[in-house]
Symmetry: C2
Subunit: 352 residues, 2 copies
């Protein structure tokens, strides 16, 4: 086996689809989950890509995540609702909420869906980009199990609670913001640990609260909030919207996807769509955004930088490159997929 | 004259009220503006307090800001509208939008007001706290003239574009987030320069793009975005919501409050309210928030910290202290207020 190989995205998607159907997802739900994983890999966000297939499969196979959830939507106002996900796969639950938010925004100007009883849903931007494809601004938040210290605290309380904001840009590439409220997403530390690498200073503390560059010690400790009090405040905001307001769990009350195979994760999300037509015609907005993009791209680069990038722009470049040349897989992830295939009598090598 | 004195907030408010009415604001509009300034001082945010009275007065007196604007509200959907501020005082325009957002959220679940033709509106939290007092979650954004480099750029494009999120907490103090998307608000650099102080490393670059601790050089240069690409993305988001979507100006197209006495500033805001009842009963939400607050306060402090604070908590403590002991004024600001009083035949010393 080689140390690093590039595999084509269609083959990877077909493998993911077949494996997820083996553990009980419908063809449609397997396709949603697969699209989220492959989209992450294509955009270079390998932490949220196919490397998660093994853990998703394990949880579905063991029934810790329900393959056939009975979701319930409770509309409280014309523009807000709670979606109870019945412990379904996060991407499936998230997509149901996304569709409802788009519908409300199209009809009523905006739509805000609080989601409870969900699970890890992949990248937040995956849903945001669906909202932007419908011509609306997307706002997608999710909480996550406790791995981050609040500013001034010595033990973890918040998750790395991501924020995604997506802007429809017409003929240009959409603007896609997707950021953990920690200095870095914990997925980067998980991947570093999986590959046996160290992490830069300033990302995390060990279990005693001391700074560390050891990825394993960091996973036993906690990550640090972005910019101290500001990132801590944003993580709190995400937990209030996703956890407190929805009836889901929050912070330390969420269960780990990686270590708890008995209890549902109880993740909460908050998915919103804002109809641009509520403010100005979409075409006018897109003309203005084009001007903004042109101007920002025209700002001279700082020493050490090639150019100024818009949020999501580098990910679109990686996508082009990976669609052409394949998705690179590390040794550990590759071996995991081979092993996973064997469990379900699928030869991973035959797909790629 | 002493170097630093503490003055009582009522006296300071009365002075502000009288001066603002002298330059044409109605009693009601002067009261809104004054409340915003004094509230900022009471909460310890001196950069956005009475130190701004001189510049506000100068702009109103010279007619660069309209004392009697004819604002127009254009409702496009049941939950979204554009408010054209007709170049009115920022606090007056912002409050009009805030009232409309509260009304929409109360009736329809949420309300989103894009504001154009406005001016510097003080702290964003001032409006957010009004929204929370009505039992809704507040989201208040504003753009500002270009003073911040985009990540990877060497010259300013964005303003320090603040984000305020406010959470109604029942019998507890509200949770009040109000943060510039720069490492620090430019007001802190303005105040440092006014008081002849230097600034910490990492806040700003000079006009050649080099790091500086000289507050004057920093004002000629640019501030840095919070956490690099993340703060830069958040500032972009604020400019898209406040400037692009509203029909206001954005980034480098906004005019300076401090140096341009010919053109309107053309500031844009985005003011939103989300009705908690659209998701769960307010009482249930507040019970859950109380638990969250109790748990966060229970996280052990990190070395060098006394305790973990909620966003806005320190500001409420300062408020208590300043209501009892007065608002401290630096030498330069004090002298400015004395001079301002003389111009309008009001003795500042007689008010305090």
């Amino acid at each position: 086996m080689v140390v690093k190989v590039s595999v084509n995205s269609q083959g990877l998607a077909a493998f993911s689809q077949d494996i997820l159907m083996e553990v009980g997802l419908s063809a449609n739900d397997a396709a949603i989950t697969t699209e989220s994983l492959i989209d992450a890999n294509l955009r270079g966000v390998d932490t949220h890509g196919i490397s998660r297939l093994s853990i998703y499969t394990k949880r579905l196979a063991e029934g810790v995540v329900k393959a056939k959830p009975q979701m319930k939507l409770l509309k409280n106002t014309e523009t807000s609702a709670i979606l109870a996900g019945d412990n379904g796969q996060g991407q499936v639950v998230g997509m149901r909420a996304t569709e409802e938010a788009i519908k409300m925004a199209t009809e009523k100007g905006s739509g805000w869906i609080g989601v409870k009883q969900s699970n890890h849903f992949g990248t937040a931007a995956f849903f945001g980009m669906k909202i932007s494809a419908a011509g609306h601004i997307g706002l997608v938040l999710s909480n996550a199990p406790s791995t981050m210290v609040p500013f001034g605290g010595s033990s973890p309380y918040f998750g790395t609670n991501p924020i995604s904001i997506t802007i429809p840009v017409g003929s240009e590439l959409p603007i896609v913001i997707d950021m953990a409220t920690s200095v870095v997403a914990q997925g980067k530390i998980i991947l570093a640990e999986k590959e046996g690498k160290s992490i830069p200073e300033g990302w995390a503390v060990d279990k005693s609260g001391n700074p560390t560059t050891d990825s394993r010690a960091a996973l036993e400790g906690a990550v640090l909030p972005l910019g101290g009090p500001k990132g801590s405040a944003l993580a709190l905001m995400v937990d209030i919207f996703s956890g407190v307001l929805t009836g889901a769990c929050w912070g330390p009350h969420l269960n780990s996807m990686w270590s708890d195979f008995k209890d549902p994760q109880q993740v909460g999300h908050f998915i919103g769509a804002i109809n641009i037509k509520g403010f100005m015609p979409l075409e006018q907005f897109q003309e203005r955004i084009k001007q903004l993009i042109k101007e920002i791209k025209g700002v001279p680069a700082a020493p050490g930088f090639k150019e100024v990038y818009l949020p999501g722009e580098i990910e679109f470049q990686i996508r082009e490159e990976r669609l052409a040349n394949g998705i690179p897989l590390g040794k550990v992830v590759f071996a995991e997929l081979v092993k996973l295939g064997k469990r379900y009598n699928k030869s991973f090598e035959n797909y790629i």
